[in-house]
Amino acid sequence: MRAAGAGAVGPRLLARPPARAGLAVAALLALAALPLALPDATDFLVQVGILYLVVMGLDVLTGYAGQVSLGQTAFMAVGGYGAALLSMRLGWPTVLSLPAAAAASALLALVLGVTLLRLRGYFLALATLGLAVIAQGLATSLVGLTGGPSGLVGVPNLGLGPLVLTDPASYYELVLALCLAGALFKRNLVRSQSGRALVAVATDQQAAAVLGVDPGAFKTRALVLSAVYASVAGSVYADYFRFFSPDLIAVTVAFSLVVMLALGGPRSLLGPLLGVVLLQLLPRAGQAVALYEPLIGGIVLVLVVTYFPAGLWGGVRRAWETLARGRR
């Protein structure tokens, strides 16, 4: 009993059965080979992966730490414009611009965390929404720097020396690697004491505090992490399309990110992916659907939050568990 109990908190990740490890390798190879099987979908998959990265980070902040942010696009903007401008204006190698922009996003999040995260609930959502509005406003108005409404054109492709990523397939592999690394990091984090502390803060700040959990510090760390994920995604986006514009970081995008998380399923690894895929497929369902996308997104958000608080992935998981129990 005791050994089993200790395993649940401690070394439960260490003891992965070899069969599952083999399965994981097979799945990895299949994922990596996806562009060969679906060459026409590669561009779509790259975009899905980039957004998955953002929503994954948002899940740490919103799903686990319980802090709703409508401002993740601000960090995407720092990542996109920041990395692009460092390379275009200052001639930095793209492999340096990306982490430099991520560091700037982390710093911004740190400053915001110290000030904004004192705000709770809807006030935080409002404050971060303000951040998204500011980011979009600056991107549109600082024409000399950002290219204004028509965007920044001619962003260099990501590369190191002679090795430059140009085609969608190689960007796909890069984004796949980033998503896997991001997902692994997130999974490790949320299963650790820090992950438990985040959930404790989301549940009851005061009760968490008397356990020695500093609510402000943990919320700030979650915001910083989500900012780094969003920033890296923004940088890759700019490098991939060789373009970045205010439309990509519009307030409606920030809203969509929250819808993706709520729809797919917060506090899970695959829920955010499901949400991104569904919302990215929506405009492809037809002209009419594309036109009413924000409306549909809003309705879906209300329905999901009301009837499926664990998102679609949470619903699938519960159905699966019920099924598995029935079979036994």
């Binding site: 009993m1 005791r2 089993a4 109990g5 200790a6 395993g7 649940a8 908190v9 401690g10 070394p11 990740l13 260490l14 990091f185 997130k186 490790n188 984090l189 650790s192 004491q193 820090s194 992950g195 438990r196 502390a197 959930v199 404790a200 549940t203 009851d204 005061q206 009760a207 968490a208 505090a209 008397v210 356990l211 020695g212 959990v213 500093d214 609510p215 760390r221 992490l225």
Partner: protein
């Protein structure tokens, strides 16, 4: 040698009501100290002030000779001060074992980077946390519940798990807010034995309690509050004979 906890002249008003009106007392190392009093006497407010959840209007709180007034609540566990709540405030979505592990938060050094990358130090800490939490559950006789969702347990068990969560932090002073509320007779007896065992292990206890029988059975000294003031303070056999106590508390409750 000064006392482990020294509280003096605490005043705290809510609106026009003085919930605490000049409360002072000491907790000596190694004792079980009870705080009793009728509803609204100021017991929980006293606990909230000591643990930094409520700011007093006046007075002082010293722990191990050092003023802890004004320290944020999350700094206190590292000093050796942990508490429970009247109605358990566990994290319902986490398992019992995970909840107990949270109690040892102040001993954890790994932050996001170490945890996310599963650095050796983070892995060692996780393993140690798991063992520590399992030991605490063993001690409480709850080892079989480790994997259960905390929110699925009945209220009485949740309160016991919350005590375990506080114990996981290895406190020098454990502050309990009505741990016996809602427990039946045999559960209350088990709780009493557990508290005595905790004290044996070197942890001082201060317990707010309604159950006079439990208080008289296990505590070394009893503080009686009424309407925000101390009306008696001393060993249980003496306190129970004080006219003021009989009048205000024992008499009042029939």
């Amino acid at each position: 040698m000064s006392a482990l906890l020294e509280v003096a002249g605490l005043v705290r008003s809510f609106g026009g009501v003085r919930a605490l009106d000049g409360v002072g007392f000491e907790v000596e190392e190694g004792e079980i100290r009870a705080v009793i009093g009728p509803n609204g006497a100021g017991k929980t407010t006293l606990l909230d002030v000591v643990t930094g959840l409520t700011r007093p209007d006046a007075g002082s709180v010293r722990f191990q000779g050092r003023s802890i007034l004004g320290l944020p609540p999350h700094r206190l566990p590292a000093l050796g001060l942990m508490r429970t709540f009247q109605a358990a405030r566990l994290v319902p979505s986490l398992t019992v074992l995970e909840n107990v592990a949270l109690g040892a938060q102040h001993q954890v050094r790994s932050r996001f980077l170490a945890a996310g990358l599963r650095l050796p130090r983070a892995r060692r800490e996780e393993a140690a946390l798991g063992q520590r939490a399992a030991r605490v559950l063993d001690f409480l006789g709850l080892a079989h519940l480790g994997e259960r969702r905390a929110g699925d347990l009945p209220a009485g068990l949740q309160r016991l798990v919350e005590v375990g969560r506080a114990l996981a932090g290895g406190p020098r002073l454990l502050l309990l807010d009505e741990p016996a509320a809602g427990l039946d007779e045999s559960e209350t007896r088990a709780l009493a034995e557990m508290l005595v065992a905790v004290r044996e292990s070197g942890c001082t206890i201060t317990v707010i309690e309604h159950n006079v029988g439990l208080v008289m059975a296990i505590s070394d000294r009893v503080l009686v509050l009424d309407a925000g003031t101390v009306i008696a303070d001393g060993p249980p056999e003496r306190v129970r004979r004080e006219p003021a106590v009989l009048e205000a508390y024992l008499g009042g409750s029939g």
